[in-house]
Subunit: 133 residues, 2 copies
């Protein structure tokens, strides 16, 4: 069963190349962090702070592309953890069918925040994280 | 009439925030430069140098999204210059129709390079540049 999680924190450091986002279970206490790039972290941060941009940024363009091609982002899923890399999927509804697209969690979360859709994490991923600690 | 142009140069500077790409007419000598962000410049540079990435980067995800939703990028157009800002459009074919999506030239060129589609610049834009010089 996928578990719905929310974006708890973004830690942006100008010293390190990798930034950190923390996801926390909505109806529980489990949480975990994912390292992401500075571009994706800044993009997510702008979305949360609702900082407007005069022109569409790359994640805005991605949202606009989904909508213009008749798709509707339903949710994003973080569904695998392999060799310390998290894998994510965009779940898009188009013409009554679901289209799933493989991506990095950072892009998926940037889209989820922009389009206000839920973030789900597979139970297997959460179990794997707790085993690794 | 739109004029087909090619990406002539990318100038990446670690000192300045804005990077520069130079487009040049394929069948002529006119050229001009556009200032873009470091993320977009790096993304275009990686595509040209065919540097592989273990996971899809944001522009790869954009290409994958277009394809997964039944679209096919036909060309990109730089169709307006207003208050020193260039405007671009993705021209996507879907179910025999064309869908046009407004974007920044940097994202459009990153997609054009990734998906090997032509870059067109409107004659009006080229005329405006020559008047401004």
């Amino acid at each position: 069963m996928p578990v719905e999680m929310g974006l708890r924190r973004i830690i942006i450091s100008e010293i390190h190349e990798q930034q950190v986002i923390v996801l926390k279970e909505l109806e529980g206490d489990r949480s975990f962090s994912i390292q992401i790039g500075i571009f994706e972290a800044t993009s997510i941060d702008r979305k949360i702070k609702k900082i407007p941009s005069p022109r569409p940024l790359t994640h805005d363009l991605l949202c606009q592309t989904i909508t213009s091609l008749g798709g509707e982002l339903q949710e994003i899923q973080i569904n695998e953890l392999k060799d310390k890399t998290y894998f994510a999927t965009l779940k898009i509804r188009q013409d009554g069918k679901f289209v799933k697209i493989d991506c990095r969690p950072s892009d998926a979360i940037a889209l989820a925040v922009t389009m206000s859709v839920p973030i789900f994490v597979y139970e297997e991923v959460l179990e794997q994280i707790s085993e690794d600690i």
